[in-house]
């Protein structure tokens, strides 16, 4: 099936902004705020996240502690902010790592086809034939738990997805006349790939990676909740959820707020990714 990719006028349209939808702009704004919270955690957190206060054990939310206190009397809001920093770091890091390796692989497989394609894509399809979370858990079983291992594991399950997306958009771009023309002119294939194919084929992968970044936060939380991600004293949102479980009915605020933080982040990345689609993945808009 050949679908014509509209020749996106690169410079002229950029001035009107890359986010054409309101949903996309809302997502972007929320993301900026969340990234700022993570980046400036020490300035924003109202209390020391590790300060133990015997007088405030499992204390409900009040003005000074809007998210309440945990089993050691520590301020939940401050703890969420610091844990969020770790979780977001893992989510962004893992997706970027997968992008960095997945995009070139998909690009080469799609452009060269033939045995190069087989050599690259067969192992990738093998990985896709396994349940993603099972694969992540199996990797952690080998290397041992930790937030850096969780980052790596998420990257491993994301890489095949991104490679597949890039490969299919590369197949379309590589059959375009301008690529054929470049080839006829005798342009070296490396130059064709970096100059002509990559810029036109990478859009859908950027959209996909943006959305995956949000879901990475859910995966990180799940792994940490199982005790397979971040290890004490490092706290991530999943670690908080695991720690607060025993006090669920007495102090539900310990469990509610980390989950809400995850949900907001997933949605923001989703909206932002969808917003990018209009410009970066015009064929995917209808979906």
């Amino acid at each position: 099936m050949s679908v014509a990719i509209p020749n996106v006028p690169a410079r002229t349209s950029r001035r009107r902004g890359i986010l054409t939808s309101r949903k996309g702009r809302v997502g972007f704004a929320i993301l900026l705020a969340l990234i700022a919270i993570a980046a400036f955690a020490p300035l924003i957190a109202p209390h020391d996240p590790n300060a133990i206060d015997a007088a405030r054990i499992l204390a409900p939310p009040d003005l000074a502690h809007p998210f309440g206190s945990d089993a050691l009397g520590r301020d939940v809001l401050s703890r969420v902010i610091y844990a969020y920093r770790v979780s977001l770091g893992v989510a962004v890091g893992s997706t970027l790592l997968a992008f960095l390796f997945g995009v070139p692989l998909g690009l080469y497989a799609g452009y060269h086809g033939g045995w190069v394609d087989t050599l690259i894509m067969r192992p990738i399809d093998m990985v896709l034939a396994l349940p993603a979370l099972l694969l992540a858990v199996a990797l952690i079983a080998i290397i041992g738990p930790g937030s850096d291992v969780a980052l790596l594991a998420i990257a491993v399950i994301y890489l095949p997805i991104l490679a597949r997306v890039v490969r299919s958009s590369t197949l379309v771009v590589a059959s375009q006349t301008y690529v054929e023309a470049a080839r006829a002119r005798g342009t070296p294939s490396r130059r064709i790939i970096t100059r002509h194919v990559l810029p036109n084929a990478i859009g859908p992968a950027i959209v996909q990676a943006t959305i995956l970044m949000g879901f990475a936060l859910q995966i990180e939380a799940a792994l940490s909740f199982l005790g397979l991600g971040a290890q004490p004293p490092t706290s991530s949102l999943g670690v908080m959820l695991a720690d607060g479980r025993d006090f669920l009915t007495q102090a539900p605020w310990i469990e509610i707020f980390p989950g809400v933080a995850i949900a907001i982040t997933v949605l923001a990345f989703n909206f932002f990714g969808d917003g990018l689609r209009t410009r970066l993945d015009p064929r995917g808009v209808a979906r």
Partner: protein
């Protein structure tokens, strides 16, 4: 052989290399553990004598290829090795736990299909309130992590209203009613995101089919809208829905690892997690292998079913 038969055989043959490669990966797990896996497994109990005994038991002192062949040969006979903590055969552990995981994932998928498909069809057929509702459900399904939903459901149903147990398990054959009471919250937690996904897929597929000329033709013929939607359109939208159900089964199997741990369900997922914590690698290997094989089997069945629903796929494969 008919094209349909050829397609099925071809698909079966394609599954073999996947299973072989997966078994190699699972086999190598124990060898990829940094340091000495036996030392790590035994921890403080590791006297040089113990280490040597366990290493010999596991056959780790033999050449790699010979080890793999013995191990894979054992698998073919249902021998998954021995749990070095309880000394029970791993196959026995898996046989006890697999039914729980299968029941959990099957019930979740059934619930997701039973809610997601009709809502998706209605959202496509009659835009309006249902469409808005479905939009909200899809957004919630994306945003809410399954295990966090599980925690919140425990808070409400077990903590505040106290109508369902917070965790635990009773076997289905022992007491079906209690069994369902224990599974209600895990199933809903696992099914929620899936429902949203299936709803969205169904709605998309139905939107597409309902826009085609032959539907307009059926309408022009005066056939009742209900009949058009359910008899004609849904049948043609079935292939993508079935495909998604098959793929998403893997997501459920992965999610089951977390949900089983959260609700203390004695399934394979929880077995894997506790075995990782105990560095009980032989059991981890068995668990990973069984869950992966289950998923490969499901995708296989899905592909055959989709080929049956959509004959164009067979032709494409036979060409």
């Amino acid at each position: 052989m008919s094209p349909r038969g050829r397609f099925i055989v071809r698909r079966l043959l394609l599954a073999i290399p996947v299973i072989v490669v997966m078994s190699v990966f699972v086999f190598l797990m124990i060898h990829l553990v940094p340091g000495d896996p036996v030392q790590t497994m035994l921890g403080f109990r590791a006297t040089p004598h113990n280490v040597a005994t366990v290493r010999e038991q596991l056959g780790l002192d033999r050449p790699l290829l010979a080890q793999y062949l013995t191990w894979a040969g054992g698998l073919l006979h249902g021998d998954f090795g021995q749990d070095f903590i309880s000394h029970a055969p791993v196959s026995t552990l898996l046989a006890q736990r697999l039914p729980v995981t299968i029941e959990l994932t099957l019930l979740s998928m059934t619930l997701a299909v039973l809610v997601g498909v009709p809502l998706g069809v209605r959202a496509a057929a009659r835009p309006g309130a249902v469409r808005h509702l479905s939009e909200g459900l899809v957004i919630a399904g994306i945003a809410i992590a399954d295990f966090w939903l599980g925690i919140m459901l425990v808070l409400l149903f077990a903590g505040i209203w106290q109508v369902l147990p917070p965790s635990g398990y009773v076997p289905l054959l022992k007491d079906p009613i209690q069994n369902l009471r224990y599974l209600a919250l895990p199933v809903v937690s696992l099914a929620f995101g899936e429902t949203a996904y299936i709803l969205r897929t169904t709605r998309g597929a139905m939107d597409e089919v309902l826009g085609t000329p032959y539907i307009s033709f059926l309408r022009a013929k005066g056939i009742r809208e209900r009949r058009i939607v359910y008899r004609h359109a849904l049948r043609n939208a079935a292939a993508p829905i079935v495909t998604v159900v098959g793929i998403q089964f893997g997501v459920l199997l992965g999610g089951a690892i977390v949900i089983e741990s959260l609700f203390a369900l004695p399934g394979v997922g929880r077995l894997i997690v506790t075995s990782i914590q105990q560095r009980n690698y032989v059991v981890v290997q068995g668990g990973v292998l069984v869950v992966a094989a289950l998923f490969i089997l499901v995708t296989l069945l899905t592909d055959v079913l989709v080929g049956w629903l959509d004959p164009r796929i067979e032709e494409g494969a036979a060409a």
